[in-house]
């Protein structure tokens, strides 16, 4: 928070139009900050040149952690911390450890992944971010291009318009996220009236 940047915003209502536009804007050398879409659009991440997420690898590691935690804890408790004779079963009843081992594997993987996801995407209650267009969660795909001192605003706007954008404007927006409520306008940055 604090830092405010200037962005050119172009809105599209059809993904068939969006993809060529993305290609052209990138070819022209402009940096697309992000595209906000109401639903996941297959292939858009690749079109924007994003690398594959390694969230699932993280999940795998969390899972393995769960497996080891479960197995070592149970084995330690039953064989060394307090070995009990329960029903004449061996002190290391491996078949009986499988269910809990499995459950903890899944639990660690799932919880770890969701927390990592929230951390990476900066999602939490009372987190507020700048929204470039309110219809970005409805039916518009909102392309956001960051303005630097070398950006020719008019040229970009014209390019977006000629590539099928249904709406084009320029906004100043704070970078990142801050704590805030959606029922109150944010007082944390100097506002310039935007689309809504």
């Amino acid at each position: 928070m604090g830092q405010v940047k200037k962005y050119i915003v172009g809105c599209f209502d059809d993904e068939k139009v969006l993809f060529p536009a993305v290609k052209k804007v990138r070819a022209a050398g402009y940096k697309i900050q992000d595209v906000y879409t109401p639903m996941p659009i297959h292939g858009l991440d690749h079109a924007l040149g994003m690398r594959e997420t390694s969230l699932h690898t993280a999940g795998f590691i969390y899972g393995i952690t769960g497996t080891t935690t479960a197995l070592t804890c149970m084995s330690w408790v039953f064989t060394s911390d307090w070995p009990l004779n329960i029903g004449g079963k061996p002190h290391l009843p491996l078949p009986a450890f499988i269910p809990i081992t499995f459950e903890l594997t899944v639990l660690f993987a799932a919880v770890g992944m969701v927390l990592t996801f929230c951390y990476l995407c900066q999602l939490a209650p009372f987190v507020k971010k700048h929204h470039f267009h309110e219809r970005a969660t409805d039916d518009l795909m909102v392309m956001v291009i960051e303005c630097t001192e070398r950006t020719n605003e008019e040229e970009v706007k014209a390019m977006l318009n000629s590539n099928g954008a249904v709406e084009v404007n320029v906004q100043e927006a704070p970078v990142g996220w801050w704590l805030g409520r959606y029922d109150r306008p944010s007082k944390l940055f100097k506002t310039r009236e935007v689309a809504y």
Binding site: H56, D81, W82, A109, P125, T137
Partner: protein
């Protein structure tokens, strides 16, 4: 229109249930009609029943996602919510069936003040503790992570301040960024992959509660897959019951179509038949196994004997009547489906009742054989109470959260609707070679 207007009718069972639980905690389980032989009755029957119902949601969202069954999108969100509420109801029974509920935390593995006294990791009930809590957590995460973008959609459409605040908080500041969607997709897929074995494991472990024992009628190796099939069966029936009501009241006919209903009915007839094969297998093995106790448990106390009626109710509701769904006409009949969904739920309740009660009430030693078991009013009250809880939660959910997965539906709409149909007509007429050429990778 909201389902919440029915809330007042639920207050009674809820209060009823609360009072039953209060009495159980203060005075004791002795008010229930359990005895030295029948240690578990309605309590665990209801537990297994609710857990079974709690399987459909995750099954629909996870397994059908992996099998790419597109029709799931219409019903998955509500079904997942149903799962969570059903598991909440289910969890109450093993907790409040304990003689000393206030010491329930003993089941948690921690080195306590009495020295490092741990829990018994080899007990199926402890596996249940892990399985149910993991299942609840993972289902909740799965469900909620799917809801975040939908909450954001509502947040940005909200008119009142209160709604803006509420949906602003629950949507976690979702923006719809491409990178976030990419991670979200990855998360959903892995959670689905994890939930698939998880959902199977939960009812498997519930079945271990019985199958690991030495009680005739409980100890049988087919229980794990058979319980899972039964859980899917009853879960789908409950989804049908709820979805048909939701569809009617909230006018969602366009989202929950006859196609959805038919697909679910197909799953019902399939799982019903699997369960049927398992019943017959058990009957056969009780004879084939050559153990007198096992034979008696099935042939003297189940299909005949004082509990015969419950066995035949189970057979009729679970195996015979779902076979009517082989008829396409009946599969697509809403009223019939609704009745069948209730019939199946009744049948599956009786399945658990038959397994639990008819097995323990006469096991090995005749001197301990018990009398006919009738539930006391407090057991019934407790059960009704969970109905109140379940429907209250579900109605609140349908009031405050989207019952249809908005983002996913948007995704699917591309492959349906009028323009899609026109396109498909063209494709129909094309020759295979031409078509393949046009779609070459």
């Amino acid at each position: 229109m909201s389902l919440l207007k029915y809330e007042s009718t639920l207050r009674e069972p809820l209060v009823d249930g609360d009072y039953s639980v209060y009495r159980e905690v203060t005075y004791g389980i002795g008010q229930w009609n359990l005895n030295k032989t029948i240690g578990w009755g309605w309590d665990i029957t209801n537990f297994v029943w609710w857990v079974g119902i709690g399987h459909a949601g995750t099954l629909i969202s996870a397994i059908l996602l992996l099998f790419r069954q597109g029709w799931r999108t219409g019903v998955n969100r509500a079904a997942e919510a149903m799962t969570i509420f059903a598991v909440m109801c289910a969890g109450q029974f093993p907790i409040f069936h304990m003689g000393r509920v206030w010491d329930a935390f003993f089941v948690l593995p921690y080195a306590n003040s009495r020295g490092p006294l741990w829990v018994n990791f080899a007990s199926p009930l402890l596996w249940d503790v892990f399985a149910i809590s993991t299942y609840f957590t993972v289902s909740l995460l799965f469900w909620y992570s799917g809801l975040i973008p939908d909450f954001a959609t509502i947040r940005d459409r909200a008119k009142t301040k209160a709604r803006k605040l509420w949906y602003g908080v629950v949507s976690f500041g979702w923006t719809g960024s491409t990178k976030h969607w990419q991670r979200h997709e990855s998360l959903s897929l892995v959670l689905a992959g994890l939930s698939t074995p998880l959902v199977l494991s939960v009812h498997t472990i519930v079945s271990f509660d019985f199958a690991t024992s030495v009680v005739p009628g409980w100890h049988t190796t087919i229980f794990p897959p058979y319980f899972v099939a039964g859980a899917i069966f009853s879960g789908f029936a409950m989804v049908q019951t709820l979805m048909l009501v939701t569809r009617k009241v909230m006018k969602l006919d366009d989202y929950i179509t006859l196609g959805h209903i038919e697909a679910m009915n197909k799953v019902i007839v399939l799982t019903g038949s699997i369960v049927g094969i398992a019943y017959l297998t058990e009957l056969f093995m009780a004879w084939y196994g050559g153990s007198k106790f096992e034979y008696d448990a099935f042939y003297k106390y189940r299909i005949a004997g004082p509990y015969g009626w419950s066995y035949w109710t189970m057979m009729t509701c679970n195996v015979i009547s779902p076979q009517l769904f082989w008829s396409k006409k009946l599969r697509r009949n809403v009223a019939f489906t609704f009745i069948m969904s209730i019939v199946v739920n009744i049948g599956m309740w009786f399945e658990r009742f038959v397994i639990i009660v008819t097995s323990v009430y006469r096991d090995y030693i005749p001197s301990s054989w018990s009398v006919y078991y009738r539930p006391s009013i407090w057991e019934v009250g407790f059960y009704l109470g969970t109905f109140g809880l379940f429907f209250t939660c579900y109605f609140l959910f349908s009031k405050f959260a989207p019952v249809i997965a908005i983002a996913e539906i948007k995704h699917v709409l591309k492959t349906s609707g009028e323009s899609f149909k026109e396109k498909m007509d063209v494709i129909e007429k094309e020759s295979v070679e031409h078509f393949a050429h046009g779609h070459a990778h």
